[in-house]
Symmetry: C2
Amino acid sequence: MEIELNEKQLQIMKKALEVFAEKGFDSASVRDIAQRAEVNVAMISYYFGSKEKLLEAIFMNNTQFMKNKIAAIIHSKAHGPFEKLDLLIDTYVSVIVENRDFHRLMMREQVLIKQGPLYSSIRDMKRQNRNLIEVAVKSGQKAGIFQKNIDISMLAATLFGSVHHFFSNYKFICEENNIPEGDDEAFNTKVIEKLKSHLKVMFKAFLTYGISNKK
Amino acid sequence: MEIELNEKQLQIMKKALEVFAEKGFDSASVRDIAQRAEVNVAMISYYFGSKEKLLEAIFMNNTQFMKNKIAAIIHSKAHGPFEKLDLLIDTYVSVIVENRDFHRLMMREQVLIKQGPLYSSIRDMKRQNRNLIEVAVKSGQKAGIFQKNIDISMLAATLFGSVHHFFSNYKFICEENNIPEGDDEAFNTKVIEKLKSHLKVMFKAFLTYGISNKK
DNA sequence: TTGAATTAAACAAACGTTTAATTAATTTTT
DNA sequence: AAAAATTAATTAAACGTTTGTTTAATTCAA
């Protein structure tokens, strides 16, 4: 299933991702992509077959990349349930931040993707993420420090939904926090870091709700 | 600012919203919309000026509707902070459920809307929602039952993000919960109701975190 | 010399919008 | 109240672009 990609193909995919994230798949024209990637329009059909298949290639590439990143957490030897949870939140948020363009594209287009390899790929990634949460929660429940009645789906919705919210509302949040748009560093330190600690605290509060606090 | 709309215009807007939500603004063609609304294509330009302005009309109509719904909460006489919070969550979720198509459309297109009346309209709605949370939280803090250090932006992200997650992942969630797609009743009772109570419990756990529990 | 890479041009299809003609409804005038 | 005049609603067709893709010729590399 591994497909080798030459430099030109990667260049097209990189620029295409930018344009797709910026304008959305449908509004992004192949001529625009070709121009930014500094290749002839015909090269897109030549290498990928079609605009649609170019999108598929980008999806396959990035979902695989993100899956690998997340999978690394599973095999890391985080000690207690709290550490597991913190690591999960930190990693997940960071992965999204590092792949902001792709994340935006995926979130935008996933509603319209109802079948095919793209759907399967996204679904697998979601399952993996969900399982990761489950592992962390169950380890805490076994240790007797997390409460028993936890709906993993709901917890996942809160985690992924909260993170996604900050990117789909990027401009609005920049306005509210007096951050100049495009200043990624300020956004990361002022917003993303706050988000991480918020999620950690909230999850702890929720998961230990009703359990005798031994702080 | 109130614009009177005749029956034909409302018919076009209704069907257009369906198509926009289904295919996205760019992929939805005016011919498709016209066909579903059973009018001639030219009627769209005739009544609204352009496809873009049709979108604007739909946005203005629905944001106003949703704003009014939410505003009603402010003036309701919910008693304690917990009741305020519960009412807020119930109402917000219900409003989204009842305007599913528009919510989907707005979430999808808002990333690309960076200025103009649409942006202002969406921003105002978000501000209003945010303020509503703030009122509920502050009333709890004054009563001494909520902890002091609460970041309203983060709480808003969690509420709106979680809710939105269930609609942008509609198909995935139906699969996981063995709900046939399109069975709105099953989705509402099995998923939406669970979401509501999950949010209520989680918010309570988080907001009272560290406060002596007098349950 | 063979095959891959690259190009400009052409392609048909679909797009949003406009036009000009016709029908329906409303208002004004007789 | 009937007729005439005016405005609004509706239509099919055409408009000019833009779209993704293909073709056929050419350049480049092995």
